[in-house]
């Protein structure tokens, strides 16, 4: 059954069919969210939010593009909105960090299998460098690199999601890689 057929059934009232779309695209949307947020719990919550929003606005899906393209647009916009920190959000986040709302294992969950404390420290530092470098890229470069590196999309697919030309995507990716290189080098020097 194609996405369009599933959507048709959902709009006719068979909302359980939405589970099929969720199961098919959940991991990919999660990866996109992860690329922007770098935190598993936040990415899970945002993925949930994205699918609920998608379901609520399904009747507005015209079918001009593939359903997946439309879904990724929602995921990218939701992620960008989430990271555009308002002063209030920043205060909350700092407060959470001070009070230990998210401990080391949660923040660097990927290191949980490491046993050597020195290795944990080094890898934590490396994670912070890369995440900081990615987070300080301009929004469009960041979006292009997340879709390319985290979701393995082709330049054509990225162009469709971002609604720009393939040439523009190529230029964005090149600038993003150059910026990333410079940012990583400067962080390494500042150490």
């Amino acid at each position: 059954m194609t996405d369009s057929e599933v959507i048709k059934l959902i709009l006719q009232g068979d909302k359980d069919k939405f589970r099929m779309l969720v199961e098919q695209y959940q991991q990919m949307v999660f990866r996109t969210c992860m690329g922007f947020l770098h935190n598993k719990d936040d990415a899970d919550d945002l993925t949930q939010d994205v699918f609920i929003r998608t379901y609520q606005s399904l009747s507005r899906f015209k079918g001009d593009s593939a359903f997946s393209t439309w879904l990724y647009r929602i995921a990218v916009n939701a992620s960008l909105n989430k990271i555009r920190k308002s002063p209030l959000n920043m205060i909350f986040q700092r407060f959470e960090n001070i009070t230990g709302g998210k401990n080391e294992k949660e923040r660097y969950h990927l290191l949980s299998n490491e046993e050597d404390p020195e290795n944990i420290l080094i890898r934590r530092e490396h994670f912070e460098w890369v995440q900081r470098a990615l987070d300080t890229l301009p929004e469009n470069q960041r979006t292009a690199i997340v879709l390319s590196k985290y979701d393995d999309f082709s330049q054509k697919e990225i162009a469709e999601i971002m609604d720009i030309t393939e040439g523009a995507v190529e230029a964005l990716l090149q600038r993003a890689k150059k910026n990333l290189r410079e940012k990583l080098s400067s962080q390494r020097k500042n150490k």
């Binding site: 939405f18 959940q26 990866r31 990415a43 609920i52 990927l110 590196k149 080098s185």
Partner: protein
């Protein structure tokens, strides 16, 4: 450098880049950092979403009000303390207001003599007792 990292270069150029990286400190450092970035991204990519996420999403669709979405959570975090402060201020205000309403009347109205006879307080004043 990207093409080298992704193995997209012809064999002879790959060898040239390899030998250059062995001698050039700047390029080898850049290469090392890029490999590091790829490694971090790759590890984040490998993460799996919550196994119960599909059920959470379907439950959120059935009950959008109870889905606990991000925007709602932030709104609750802001509104809750504000609402508590307003409730406390209102409780104090109405407490003072009610307290003022139930204060005893200090200025007693003078009763006529006839009625004073059935007013115990007026009959048994201290003055009467003193006069006796």
């Amino acid at each position: 450098m990207d093409a080298y990292r992704e193995g997209k270069l012809p064999r002879d150029i790959m060898t040239q880049v390899e030998s250059h990286l062995e001698t050039c400190k700047t390029c080898s450092e850049i290469y090392r950092l890029q490999v590091l970035a790829d490694k971090v991204i790759d590890q984040e990519r490998k993460l799996q979403s919550d196994p119960f996420l599909t059920n959470r999403i379907m439950a959120g669709i059935d009950d959008p009000a109870g889905s606990g979405s991000q925007s709602e959570t932030v709104l609750i975090r802001i509104l809750k303390p504000a609402l508590m402060t307003v409730s406390m201020a209102a409780a104090i205000f109405f407490g003072i207001l009610l307290g003022n309403l139930s204060q005893p009347v200090t200025d007693r109205v003078k009763l006529p003599v006839e009625l004073a006879l059935i007013d115990d307080a007026a009959i048994e004043t201290v003055n009467i007792l003193l006069n006796e």
